[in-house]
């Protein structure tokens, strides 16, 4: 299997196959000896060069994080041979990206309007819950295609707030 992997936005090419003892693994062309077993759903025990890693996978409303020990990495993975075709990482993705509400709350301020340009990490709107404010940031550079949740709207976790293309 060949994968395009993005870890915190940095892309890697990963070639991975089961072998008799362990895995055949090439990362960006470099061969790496990997021993890995799934301890339970979402928990992987990985041994590389004798070093032991406990990797936990975490799904949130908006991302997938892989925790190596106590450090989280944002992970995105594409099978380049899938019918959907090649796509870049979230940050330079060509298709429209949905911004989802990470928690229930109320949209108190929309900072960027439809049709306006936006940078990676720029705040598009502010959602308030329990008297505290949370900035919703754009995952990619592009244009705000649509503001789905207007100022004053109540939202639930996972609701689409805006679309950036």
């Amino acid at each position: 299997m060949v994968y395009d992997v993005a870890i915190d936005g940095k892309r890697y090419r990963l070639e991975l196959d089961r072998a008799q003892a362990g895995w055949h693994c090439r990362l960006d062309g470099r061969e790496i000896q990997v021993d890995a077993v799934l301890a339970r759903r979402d928990v992987l025990s990985v041994l590389i060069g004798g070093k032991a890693y406990e990797i936990k996978r975490e799904h949130t409303a908006t991302d997938v994080h892989l925790w190596v020990g106590s450090v989280p990495y944002v992970a995105e993975l594409r099978d380049p041979r899938s019918l959907r075709g090649r796509r870049g990482t979230a940050a330079d993705e060509k298709g429209p990206r949905k911004l989802l509400a990470p928690m229930p709350g109320k949209v108190v301020r929309v900072l960027i309007g439809e049709g306006q340009p936006v940078e990676v990490g720029q705040s598009i709107m502010v959602v308030e819950a329990m008297k505290m404010q949370n900035e919703i940031k754009s995952p990619k550079k592009g244009i705000v295609q649509k503001i789905v949740a207007a100022e004053g709207a109540n939202v639930n976790a996972g609701d689409v707030l805006a679309i950036v293309e």
């Binding site: 759903r41 992987l44 594409r78 099978d79």
Partner: protein, 495 residues
């Protein structure tokens, strides 16, 4: 859970009450009986006397343990229990009333000759009175709500010019938060420590103290980490504080478990602050260093038993430190972080106690205080307690929501904390400083793991297009959990 466990250990049947959002809470499953008492709004469920006493009647309960928060310090509720013939596990309504008003408590303490922070023992009648007292006791001064706690209705005033507006603002905040605009004034102690003493009294006139807890590490007046004993309290100071605490309890005719809070200045002078007329969240550290089970004792005292030991039988041994693990986002100003716990790896091992109701798959509600668990490290000395707790925090993983676990790693590795140099300003100072940069050296390992997960443990959104990222919110998360369970059964065979 704490009370249910104690009941089970004592052979007492337990009855849980729950609101709509708490139907899936651990305590409901672990109790012997459980009854629904209303919607999530506390006023319609956990604060509703009628509904709670109805359940007590229906289940023929002999006693009610009020826990912490909600009705635990509500004298009217304690009285309502008496009227209904149900034993309230705690002090009498009169004791609660006396200590419930901070000004009244100060007045009684004055009579009992207990040292307290200079200031007024009655609510301020006017801005003029406030100004006069402030000049007498000296700035800076603290304005505080008589009916309150948790920082509401509190204002620190440095100069005379700030006093009047601060008083007005404190009064209106107190009115909104507690329905009582009474505000009093105290000298503001610079960088005090918050040290509290556990007391226990039976209904036969015996009162003892069970050691102090250092609770200075607070964020916005909410305790975050507590330890026992306090790094600065020696046996002589403990005895003196303990004797004052007993005097306070006796002046209030106190029975059952309670905590006397003191402010301690940099010269180790201690001043009575207030008394909490209930069992406290941080009671485990006291249990670990004294070897006593406070909830067992509460129940037995309420059943009319005499204290089974005397003051001279109480010995402090070792050191315990507790972290309060909250569903909060440390990278976003500790914003509450409700949601479903998708993965839970819990620590254990030597010297580790974990009091927790959370479980994997639990939907943490936003409706109540987001305390998930208390993690306590216990050792023969403070250094060992710190290293055990640090180790346990390293093992702890809560996936799917944000928690403040990373905050404790910062505190426990901080030089001032390790030297025992803490005060109520400590955490604010620490949080203002730059955290140690996280070493992100394992991105390649993460990349490899991403591929291996996709092959060994694909999520439902992966199937078909190999994408680890969910394309929608809660729906996908639930779908993932479901397919994960089905696959786990198959994968176990692959090893």
């Amino acid at each position: 859970m704490r009370v249910i466990r104690a009941c089970r250990e004592l052979g007492i049947a337990s009855v849980a009450v729950y609101s709509d959002v708490d139907r899936a809470s651990s305590h409901v499953r672990k109790a012997d009986e459980a009854y629904h008492i209303g919607p999530s709004a506390a006023a319609e469920s956990y604060l509703n006397f009628t509904k709670i006493l109805e359940v007590a009647k229906r289940s023929r309960a002999d006693a009610i343990h009020p826990g912490y928060g909600f009705l635990s310090e509500n004298a009217k509720f304690a009285q309502a229990c008496r009227d209904a013939g149900v034993k309230f596990i705690g002090p009498s309504p009169a004791s609660m009333e006396m200590m419930g008003s901070k000004t009244r408590a100060r007045q009684e303490m004055e009579k009992a000759g207990v040292p307290f922070v200079p200031g007024t023992s009655r609510g301020l009648k006017s801005a003029d009175e406030a100004e006069q007292v402030a000049v007498k006791i000296g700035y800076p001064v603290m304005l505080k709500a008589a009916a309150g706690g948790g920082g509401k209705g509190m204002r620190l005033v440095h100069t005379p010019g700030e006093l009047k507006p601060a008083l007005q603002s404190a009064q209106s905040e107190a009115e909104r938060a507690f329905g009582d605009r009474e505000v009093y004034i105290e000298k503001a102690i610079i960088d005090p420590r918050h040290i509290e003493m556990q007391v226990l009294a039976d209904e036969h006139g015996n009162t003892v103290y069970l050691g102090e807890r250092e609770c200075s590490i607070q964020r916005r007046h909410q305790k975050v980490l507590e330890e026992s004993p306090s790094p600065i309290v020696d046996p002589d100071m403990r005895r003196r504080m303990g004797e004052v605490a007993v005097r306070v309890a006796e002046a209030a005719n106190y029975t059952n478990a309670g905590t006397v809070e003191f402010l301690v200045d940099q010269e180790k002078n201690f001043y009575f602050l207030e008394m909490n007329t209930r069992l406290q969240v941080e009671h485990p550290v006291t249990e670990l260093i004294t070897g006593l089970d406070l909830v067992h004792l509460q129940i037995r005292i309420a059943a009319g038993e005499k204290l089974p030991f005397r003051q001279e039988d109480v010995h402090i041994r070792g050191h315990a430190i507790e972290c309060r693990i909250y569903a909060e986002d440390p990278d976003n100003n500790y914003f509450p972080s409700p949601g479903r716990i998708t993965l839970l790896l819990s620590p254990s091992g030597p010297g580790i106690r974990r009091d927790s109701g959370m479980y994997e798959g639990w939907m943490v509600p936003i409706d109540y205080d987001p305390l998930l668990a208390k993690l306590i490290g216990y050792g023969t000395d403070r250094t060992q307690a710190i290293s055990r707790l640090t180790r346990a925090l390293h093992e702890y993983f809560v996936g799917g929501i944000k928690t403040n676990i990373s905050l404790f790693r910062r505190i426990l590795t901080d030089a001032d904390f390790r030297a025992g140099k803490v005060d109520t300003g400590y955490l604010d100072r620490l949080l203002k400083s730059q955290p140690a940069p996280i070493r992100r050296e394992d991105a390649e390992v993460a990349a490899i793991a991403a591929g291996i997960f996709a092959m060994l443990d694909p999520t439902s959104t992966v199937a078909g297009h190999g994408n680890l990222s969910p394309s929608s919110g809660n729906g996908a998360v639930d779908g993932v959990a479901a397919s994960g369970w089905k696959r786990a059964a198959r994968i176990e065979g692959l090893g």
